[in-house]
Symmetry: C2
Subunit: 210 residues, 2 copies
Amino acid sequence: MHNKINNISVDCSILGFEDGALKILLIKRDKEPGLNLWSLPGSYVYMDEKIHIAARRVLNELTGIHDVYLSQVGIFDELNRYPSHRVVSILYCALVKPEILELIAGSHAKEVGWFNITNLHPLPFDHNKMIQMSLNWLKEEIWQKPILKNLLPNKFPLNQMQDLYQSILQTSIDNRNLRKKVISQGLVEKLDEKTKGGQQRPAYLYKFRT
Amino acid sequence: MHNKINNISVDCSILGFEDGALKILLIKRDKEPGLNLWSLPGSYVYMDEKIHIAARRVLNELTGIHDVYLSQVGIFDELNRYPSHRVVSILYCALVKPEILELIAGSHAKEVGWFNITNLHPLPFDHNKMIQMSLNWLKEEIWQKPILKNLLPNKFPLNQMQDLYQSILQTSIDNRNLRKKVISQGLVEKLDEKTKGGQQRPAYLYKFRT
DNA sequence: GCAAAAGTGTTGAGTGTACACCCATGC
DNA sequence: GCATGGGTGTACACTCAACACTTTTGC
């Protein structure tokens, strides 16, 4: 039924944000080539399956979760990118909220782990390049669409949002300017609620509008 | 030698600008499916060929020309987009200067023709969608990169440039504002030369910088 | 009361947009 | 001299970037 197209695959770069740092989800490969190496999750595309469906399938098999933001970011087609034969891979990037992040780590389908995206060790195939492309894609998208919604909790203090911007852009941002911007643009909305349990002054929580 | 990957193809949307209108190059298909229908030029990708090379090959076979601006714009993967079997197609968009435009029309490799991009008749497969995506892509790129360079002659009056902007964006633009913008940004440079042979006041010619 | 993080305003530069008339040439 | 397209300037609104101190809480 589900014949593979063995020249076309998808790979997923699954990003999350925790403890002020961007993380990526890797799996320990359970087959050759690259057995036991940490790598991006991926799969061949089936003959009767649209490509983005294949990407969702990979995500679901891995996490059991459906409502994750997913976007196509590029094509990798180096002739020798995969050792055994020619495989063209379509790269997808998924963004997951912290609420789901823990859940995924606990899944027992495969051995999975969240890795800090900075100073990541070498991965097999062209997976480091793929991650680099995901980050570049994210940098571009960040000002175009309210995409950070998918990396932040439903309620968050603005400073957490600022940390996220800074992690992605790899620069520091003026807090007054950022606050003014996201509020005046109507991107976020202040709630009647504050953080508690912190060691200092509590912060107002915000949520994304729309 | 050159085995086809028969699930992966490229299609090329080749755009030009002439007589104040955007045009697209179509070929009359010389094989089934769609024999004798006008359509985008395309080809399977070979096993030992990168995808963008396949796109250039299509262009070269058709026109004999090498230095054409070419960019990947999207992937088409509807299950039934091609009648006989599953083919995933990568869409490329090429931009050609008027100097080359005539030349291509005269090539005798295949029956080719330039068509006005507005009110284009229905094309086979998903080719109308592809063209639509090319136009959307062009609209986005137009302010990001000095891409119009590839659609205008080497020397051109600013009003011609304005016509091109307007054709692409499908809106009218204030000429003072546009002139100010492209000059102050250093996008174009005034030459010591004017149009001649026109029926009215000659216009200064400009060229793209870089 | 003090350490630590949260929160807040103003100014200047630059950019985008709206808008209407004179200019140079061919005929 | 007139029709045709070529060319020009100003004023306002908005957006962005730079910059440092006060406030609130937990301990």
